[in-house]
Structures are given as structure tokens and as C-alpha cells.
Amino acid sequence: MQAQPPNPSLAPSLAASNLACRRGDRLLFRKLSFTLGEGDALHITGANGTGKTTLMRALAGFTTPFAGEVSREGELGLLDERPALDPDLPLGKALGFWNAVDGGGDPSQVYGKLGLSNLLEVPVRYLSTGQRKRAGLAALMGRSVPIWLLDEPLSGLDTAAIETVTRLIEGHVKGGGLALIASHQRLEIEGLQTLELGDYVPARAVEEEE
């Protein structure tokens, strides 16, 4: 499958209406609605366990939401805590697999931007959390898809890398993309909208926690 050039007639969009998700028997959040279009960036915040990752997986289509609907236009890429890189392979080969799958061109520019050029010979299992995160982002960028779902993209990154990744997200959004970022950290992106997932936690669950 070749990476498709963005189709200008079909603007990317991602919408959730009245979404509710649960994990096991517990209802995590409900009545969650938003609509995102071209150039939008949404920062999803919330305490641990409010269901940020569950929301991401529901939006990606991996799980069926308990209630509500997800609709989207355009291809979607997900970056989570599992970058799908073979731990035994050197980073260059592990990323090379995804580059071959996506039919991408020369990825060295992306590697350079993310500071991975010196790590290509290092087996993935020796990489630090932050380095792995950046590698996952490199695989995502190789796909040139319009919709980015980023689950904690800044965790484990040093100050310089946070700046780089923030600028990359901003660049993606400005270039007609769309990004959803679940993160505890502060994000400095122009025009960023914020959604506090804690506002959608059912009342009973809040009482129980207090």
C-alpha cells in the first residue's frame, strides 16, 4: 500500500458524538462529543485512569465504544506507548520495516529532525523511553496521514526533544492535518483546544473516589 498524497477535496475530520467508554465494569466517561477538522489540535487532559488511552483506542477503531459513535474522514495514525519496533533489531532496520510497508521515500531527513541518526545501529531494546517515543513518531511521520492520535507523546522526552516534537505537531496541524494529543504535560501549540476528560466522568464514579 503506497502512502497516498493528501487529497485536497477531502478534508480530514474526526468526530465523536455522545461517546461513552468503559473498562471492565467501570464506566470511564460518557456524553463526550467533539468535532475536529483540518488544522485543529485538541489536547486531552485528565488524571491517571480517566480513560485517555481507552479514548484513543476507541477513536482508532480498536475497541467498540460502550455508547455513541466515532466518525472520521481520512487516514489515521496512532502513537502510543508501544511503537511496534522489534526489540532485537537495530533501530534502523526496525524503522526500515515500517518505511518499506508504507512505501515511503528516504527517511533520513525525518530521522535527523528527531535526532535519531546516531541511534540507527542501536538495538531497540537498549533505547530509552524518550528515544523509543521519538522512533515511534518517526514511523508515524513516514506515513503522511492527516489524522494523528498521540498518546502521551512527550513522556520521557528531554526539554529539547519536547520542543522539537511540539513544533512537529504544530507543523503537522498547520499543514492541513489534525491532531489529538493526550498528555499530562503542558503543550504550547498555537490554537490548541483543550478537553478535560475528568469533566465527563459519571457522577457516581466521582463520589466513589471521594
Binding site: A60, L76, L78, D80, R82, A84, P87, D88, V101
Partner: protein, 216 residues
């Protein structure tokens, strides 16, 4: 994309590619080597029972790769990323089935030659044994893949998959080893038919299993 995936899967599972993937073949030869020590070097007993031992060794060797077959890639998020790229779970599992069979079936069939020498298996029996393994190992691979996918999200999955494999592989063993006892190739047709059915079913069953594993 399919070709790239097959190449990657083969690199991960093929013997001597590293990561201890050659263990099933070594294990297979080791069982055949131990057998004469255990029952004594009587040529009659060895050549009469040797074929059955090879079948048991093949079945046990097919269990060894199961632990890494599906679970590690679920943990890596590998199937998730392929799904996002538009590949169906059934196709991923079909590719995995081919890679799994190629990495233990043909090496096992090759290893049957030294094994036959160790167990004093004669020409006609060896012939039936090789045909039987050729027909039976795809079925064993298919059962293995289904079990590996089903047990991937369980904590004790690896131990359980070994136990589950044994009863499910019985029909292949009965017809495969039965052909040796009667010196008659007809029952190998059954082995091939069972294998065919299992191979056709496995990608769908295993695909459904990894889809279901996401919904927890």
C-alpha cells in the same frame, strides 16, 4: 506490504536467524537420539516403533515456537499498527501461518533423514514418514497458530498452549503414524484433508482471537 510482512515474519521465526528459533529442530533430533538409549539398541524394536517416535517428536517440536508466535507482537502493538495501515487481522494471521510453517515444517522434514538413521527406519517407512510430515505439519502449524492467538492475552498462555495442542493434534497423529504401522499411504489422505481444513480455518479463527484480545 504482504511481501514485506512475510519477510519480516520469516526473519523473526526462521531457524538460525537468531533468537533460539532453531530450538524445535534441535529438540526433534534430541528426542530421536534419546529414544535408542531409553529402549535399548534392538534394531527390530527401533525400526518398528521409530516412526511413531518421530511423529511424537514432531508434535512436541511444534509446541516450542508457540510462546513467541503471537503474544510478543500483540505486546509490541505490531498488529495494531498494521491494522491502521489497512491490513486485516485475517491477512496478518495468514502471513504468520506461512512463516510459522516454513520455519518449522521443512526444517523438520530435513531433520527426519538423520533421525531415520538413528532409529533404523527403513526405506518404505521413511517414504511414508516424509509424506506424512509434509501433509501433517501445515495442520500442526495451523493448530499452533490458533492456540497461540487464543491464549496470547492470558498470563499462563505459554504453558496452556502446550497442553491444548496435544488433544487437538491427535487426529493428525493417529492417521499419520497409523500409515506407518499398516505400511499403507491411504490414511495420509486423511492427514492432508485435516491439514487443509485447519489451514483454511486458522487465519479466520486466529484473526478473530486477536481482535477479541483488544476488547478487554
Amino acid at each position: 506490504m504482504i511481501g514485506t510482512l512475510l519477510k519480516r515474519d520469516l526473519a523473526k521465526f526462521f531457524p538460525f536467524a537468531g533468537g533460539g528459533a532453531s530450538l524445535p529442530v534441535m529438540f526433534f533430533i534430541a528426542v530421536a537420539m534419546l529414544y535408542p538409549f531409553a529402549v535399548g539398541p534392538d534394531v527390530n524394536i527401533l525400526s518398528r516403533t521409530g516412526g511413531g517416535v518421530v511423529w511424537i517428536a514432531a508434535l512436541l517440536a511444534a509446541i516450542l515456537p508457540l510462546e513467541k508466535l503471537v503474544a510478543s507482537d500483540i505486546e509490541l502493538g505490531f498488529f495494531d499498527q498494521l491494522r491502521l495501515r489497512g491490513l486485516t487481522e485475517e491477512m496478518m494471521m495468514a502471513v504468520r501461518l506461512i512463516a510459522h510453517w516454513l520455519s518449522f515444517g521443512p526444517p523438520l522434514i530435513l531433520a527426519t533423514f538423520p533421525t531415520a538413521a538413528l532409529l533404523a527406519i527403513d526405506g518404505p517407512t521413511l517414504h511414508l514418514l516424509l509424506l506424512g510430515l509434509l501433509a501433517g505439519t501445515p495442520g500442526l502449524a495451523a493448530i499452533g497458530l490458533m492456540i497461540a492467538a487464543l491464549t496470547a492475552s492470558l498470563r499462563a498462555g505459554a504453558a496452556l498452549s502446550g497442553l491444548l495442542m496435544v488433544p487437538l493434534a491427535l487426529p493428525i497423529l493417529i492417521f499419520g503414524a497409523g500409515a506407518l504401522a499398516r505400511q499403507d499411504g491411504a490414511s495420509l489422505g486423511f492427514v492432508a484433508a485435516i491439514s487443509l481444513g485447519l489451514v483454511a480455518m486458522a487465519p479466520f479463527a486466529a484473526g478473530a482471537a486477536i481482535k477479541a484480545a483488544r476488547e478487554v
